[in-house]
Symmetry: C2
Subunit: 169 residues, 2 copies
DNA sequence: TTAAATTATGTGCATATACACATAAATGAG
DNA sequence: CTCATTTATGTGTATATGCACATAATTTAA
């Protein structure tokens, strides 16, 4: 096994006689980022099993839910979704092609403004039913309280991680 | 705001007089998957700020740490990393091109077996220092206990989510 | 007003993710 | 041995992710 293997319980060097007394507090946990990514893969897969009925990826669903009949600029949407602007640029394409979203002119010629079409609005409602099934299935599977706790942890982590990126940039 | 907006506190319809008494337990939480993905984006960014010094993405680092001087097949590696086999196929390419990983012949002509090169081993050690800095910075930023708790939650979620996917497939 | 700075966006690139489909090698049944 | 099955893998396609760089429109400073 590798020293910093990412799975399994805490990897602890077998205590050598001369090992410093302060070692414990310096040893890092296993890679939090890797676990998070791993869980995200599984979780995404869980939702997408249910969203497949409406031909949506989870990311597309998220975008759809943030859209409206009110025009929103690309950057505004990206901020709401907290995703990279350029990711969203490309992510909107399939939604536009399928007729759920359309571009409308804005006051500022630089901006691209997007709205949900009437068809898109109907579709979003349908998609929400499937999302809801997925979410409830997840809560049933993990346990409602567990899920709520997990959410709370994720939210706290999001809170604490936001300033970090803003600060030292 | 959209009914199922993914951010902010629990969206609760303003209680209309005739609203059913059982509504509470049927309302799903906000989208757990979306939050997880959001946190993953930020967390990945956090690590990659530190890994940039060695030119690694977090995913590449994860792969590197699971490699060895002992040959491992693609599928075995994918299982260890719990990632899609085809994702790993492409993810190994840059590591091979940079001379950190090499393919060795296996007994079974179908298999592709991979090992860390000597150079790769040295590099992995260097990369681990940077990963360690990132991990400790994360723990310092989120709080050590908070991070440990988060890990525990993630691990539990991984545990509970694994059977689900195995079962109904 | 005009040039500089800012803002909103696009594009190229590299990677990550996973499904559907295709193929080759090994295995097992007969 | 031979054919069906299983196993290990690759490729095509679609999406997700974000950095670096480029451009156009707006705003601001002089």
């Amino acid at each position: 096994m590798n020293p910093q293997a990412l799975s399994g319980p805490r990897a602890r060097r077998k205590s050598s006689p001369a090992a410093g007394k302060h070692a414990a507090e310096l040893l890092p946990l296993p890679c939090t980022g890797a676990r998070l990514r791993r869980l995200t893969r599984r979780m995404t897969s869980f939702y997408e099993q249910r969203l497949r009925a409406v031909g949506l990826k989870l990311g597309q669903y998220s975008v759809l839910v943030h859209l409206d009949r009110e025009a929103q600029t690309l950057t505004h949407l990206a901020d709401q979704l907290e995703m990279d602007r350029t990711t969203l640029t490309r992510g909107l394409q399939p939604l536009i092609e399928r007729g759920w979203v359309t571009e409308v002119p804005g006051s500022d010629a630089r901006q691209r403004c997007f709205v949900l079409t009437a068809q898109g609005e109907r579709f979003r409602t349908e998609a929400q039913h499937h999302w809801r099934d997925a979410q409830l299935a997840l809560e049933a599977h993990l346990g409602r309280d567990f899920t709520a706790n997990l959410q709370a942890q994720l939210d706290q982590a999001l809170d604490r991680l936001k300033p970090a990126l803003a600060e030292d940039n």
